[in-house]
Symmetry: C2
Subunit: 396 residues, 2 copies
C-alpha cells in the first residue's frame, strides 16, 4: 500500500497539472502558517532574543539534518544556507585546495550553466592556470586523467534528464586521484541518493525544486565526515567560525560541516523549508522513485503515441533518467506557453527543449494521461501557432 | 513638524524598550501580510509563472533601487541578495583585481570580524602573498601607503559606535591609488550616507538592522556606476549573467550592477524587506539623524548621572558616533541579561561592551529616559548578580 500521492498536503490550483516541480515545487499546506508564526510569534514577539528562545541558531543545522536523511548522509554532515551557486563555489574551492598540483576542473557540457560559471569565476579569482574542461556527459568517466583535480557533475541533466552513475563515476574519480563533487539539484527529493555509499567528498543542492521550499529557499552542501577538517573554507564567514560570538580577529573554522556556513542564515525561508519537509512523513525515496518511473513511462508512451512531431530528448531507459521527461521541438517555447494556458505547467529550456517534471508527491497517473491528451490537442490543433505564444518572457 | 517616531507602524511588545535595532530591527506591520501574499497568492496560485506574473524577477532590483535612495546611490547601482559576508567577498575580490600590483588589504581592528574573515578566506583562495593589514581605527588614514590595493572599513564600529569620515578616508584612499569599500551595516537606515559624494568604488550592507527586514534578510552591494564594467565578479553566478536564461556555456557578466547578483534570489525575504521599507515614507535621513543624536545624548547624560560604575565606550562627540551608545563594564553580560528581564533590550559584545542602539522610527525621549532609569535600578540593586544572569547563551 502506498502513501502516494499526497495531493491533499499541497495547495495547487484546481485544474492545474503541475509538471514543473523540477523548477519550483508547489506550496505545501502549513508553509504560510509557519511563515506567519516565524514573523509574528518569533520575530515580532521575541525580537533579537528569538535567536535563542525560538532556537533560530539551531535551525540551519536542524534543516541540514533533515536533508541529510534524503541523501544518505550522516547527521551533521549537511550545512544549509546561501544559494546553490555559492555552495558550488565553496565545494570547488575546497576541492582544488586538496589537489594543489592538479590544474583541471572536469565537468560535462550538460551541466547547469551556473555550475560552470562559478568554476570560471573561481579560476579567474585564483588567477592561476586552472582549466575548466567540459566533455560530453558520456565521456566523463574516461576523461578523468591524472591532471584532473576535481570532477564536478550534476547527477541529472537539467535539460535531458540524463542521469550519471554516481557510484561508478565517483570510483573512477578516486581511482585517478580526483576529488568528486555532485550537484544534486535534480536528485535530492527526486531519486534515492546514497552519499555515504558513493563516497564523494562533496555534494551540493537546492531545496526549491523537489523539496518544495519556495522561491529562493536556501541551498545545502555536504562534506564527507572524514574530510571535514581538511576543508579550507574559501567563504570564511563568521557563522562558519568555531566561535562566532567570541568575535576573534582571526578566522578559525568550526570543527564540523558548519564551517561551510557563511553569514546570517535566512530564518524565514529556512522555517518555510522546515515545514515543507513535513510532507515527506512516511514516504521513502524508493517509493517515490518507483512512482516517478511509472509516471515518466506513462508520459513517454502516451506522448509518443499521440504526438509524432515531438522527439524524446530524455533517455528511454529509466535507469539512466532522472524524474523528468523532455521532448525536443523547434517551436517548443510556443508549445509550452500554449500548454500553460491549458493548465499544464511545464517549462522550456533553450534551444528547443520542453521539460516536464514528475513528482509523485502530488501527481498521479490520471494527471499524466490528461497532460498528454492536452499536449496532443495543442499539437493537432496547432493552437501553439497563436502569436501570443511566441513572445518570450524572461523565465518560462 | 516631525513624523517621528512611527511606533504605530511596528509590532513591538507592550512595555518593551527595544534598543537592539542595530542588531535586528523589529517587525513592521504589514510584513506578515506581505509574506502570506507572496506565499499564497503568488507562489501558491501562480507557482513557477510567478517569476513573471508576480514580477519576482524584478524584485531584487526594485528593492535595490529603494535601498539606493537611502545611501545616496543612483538607481540601478545597488544589487541585493545573499549575505553581507558574501557581498564583502565580492567587493574585495573585484577591488583586488583592479589593483593587481598591490598586495595589501587595509582595514581596522574594530571592523566586524566577518569582514576580516572573508578577507582572510579570499587571500587563502587566491593563494598569493596578499596581506590583510589591520590598524587602529584612528590610524587608518595615515596607513594608506602605496602598497595598499583596497581600504575596507565599516563606517560605524559595531562595538564602540565610533564613526569614520567616509569622505575624508575615501579621498585619502584615492590620493594613494587604493580602491575604497565601505561596509554600511551600521549606517544604512541609521545615518545620512552619500555614496555619490563620497565617491567610493564599493559599498556593502545588510537590511535586518536599521531597515527592519527580518532575520536573514538579504544583503546589498553598491558599485560606482562608472566602474561597473571593470568589475570582475568572483562569484559569477547565473543571475549575474547578461542573459541568464540563454543558458550559454560561458559566463558573460551583465552590463550593470546586476553582475553582482549570484544565484536565485530569496523572494520571500525580499518581499518582506520590500514591505519593511514602506515604513520610511515621508521620513528623511537627516530627520532620523537629528532624532538619533538627541536620543543618544539623552541616554549618555542620563546613564552617566545615574550609573557611575559604567564607562562610556562610545565617542562623546556625536559627530564621530553612529546611532548607538556603548558602555563598558566588566560584568556587562550579566547586566544586559538583567536589563532584558526588565524589558530593556540591548546586547553584549565581548569582552565587556554593553550596546544600545537608538532608532528614532520607534523610540522617543521617554523610552530612553525610562531605559536609563531601569539600568540605574539594575546597577544600584545589583540584581545583575543573580546567578541566572551569568549563564552565557549563544547570542546575546
Amino acid at each position: 500500500m502506498t502513501n502516494l500521492p499526497k495531493k491533499h498536503l499541497f495547495d495547487i490550483p484546481e485544474g492545474m497539472i503541475y509538471l514543473d516541480g523540477n523548477s519550483l515545487g508547489p506550496l505545501p499546506k502549513g508553509a504560510a502558517e509557519r511563515a506567519v508564526k516565524t514573523l509574528t510569534q518569533e520575530w515580532g514577539t521575541q525580537l533579537i532574543k528569538a535567536w535563542n528562545t525560538a532556537d533560530w541558531m539551531a535551525l540551519p543545522q536542524k534543516v541540514g539534518d533533515r536533508i541529510a536523511g534524503f541523501i544518505g548522509a550522516a547527521p551533521g554532515s549537511v550545512a544549509t544556507g546561501d544559494t546553490l551557486s555559492i555552495k558550488v563555489y565553496q565545494a570547488l574551492a575546497a576541492a582544488l585546495k586538496m589537489r594543489p598540483e592538479r590544474p583541471v576542473i572536469l565537468s560535462d557540457t550538460g551541466n547547469f550553466p551556473t555550475d560552470l560559471y562559478m568554476a570560471q569565476g573561481l579560476i579567474s579569482t585564483i588567477g592561476k592556470d586552472y582549466e575548466l574542461r567540459t566533455v560530453a556527459p558520456e565521456e566523463v568517466a574516461d576523461a578523468i586523467t591524472d591532471d584532473v583535480a576535481v570532477v564536478m557533475l550534476t547527477e541529472v541533466d537539467y535539460r535531458s534528464g540524463r542521469r550519471h552513475d554516481m557510484v561508478d563515476i565517483t570510483a573512477r574519480a578516486h581511482q585517478n586521484g580526483a576529488v568528486m563533487i555532485w550537484d544534486l539539484a535534480h536528485s535530492a527529493g527526486a531519486l534515492p541518493v546514497d552519499l555515504t555509499a558513493c563516497n564523494a567528498e562533496f555534494a551540493v543542492g537546492c531545496t526549491y525544486k523537489y523539496f518544495n521550499g519556495g522561491p529562493g529557499a536556501p541551498a545545502f552542501i555536504y562534506a564527507r565526515p572524514d574530510i571535514v577538517l581538511e576543508v579550507e573554507p574559501a567563504l570564511s564567514g563568521w557563522l562558519g567560525h568555531d566561535a562566532p560570538f567570541a568575535m576573534e580577529p582571526d578566522y578559525r573554522p568550526a570543527m564540523t560541516t558548519e564551517r561551510l556556513r557563511v553569514g546570517t542564515p535566512p530564518i524565514v525561508q529556512l522555517s518555510i523549508l522546515d515545514t515543507a519537509l513535513d510532507v515527506w512523513e512516511g514516504v521513502s525515496m524508493e517509493e517515490i522513485r518507483g512512482a516517478s518511473v511509472a509516471l515518466c513511462e506513462t508520459f513517454i508512451s502516451e506522448v509518443e503515441a499521440r504526438c509524432p512531431d515531438l522527439t524524446l530528448a530524455s533517455p528511454r531507459d529509466a535507469d539512466v533518467r532522472g524524474s523528468q521527461v523532455s521532448f525536443a521541438f523547434a517551436d517548443g517555447y510556443a508549445v509550452v506557453q500554449a500548454l500553460i494556458d491549458r493548465g499544464v505547467i511545464g517549462d522550456f529550456r533553450a534551444p528547443n527543449i520542453m521539460r516536464f517534471g514528475f513528482t509523485p508527491l502530488y501527481l498521479d497517473q490520471a494527471d499524466v494521461v490528461r497532460a498528454a491528451e492536452i499536449l496532443e490537442d495543442v499539437m493537432k490543433s496547432e493552437s501553439w501557432k497563436d502569436p501570443k505564444y511566441q513572445v518570450r518572457s524572461r523565465v518560462t
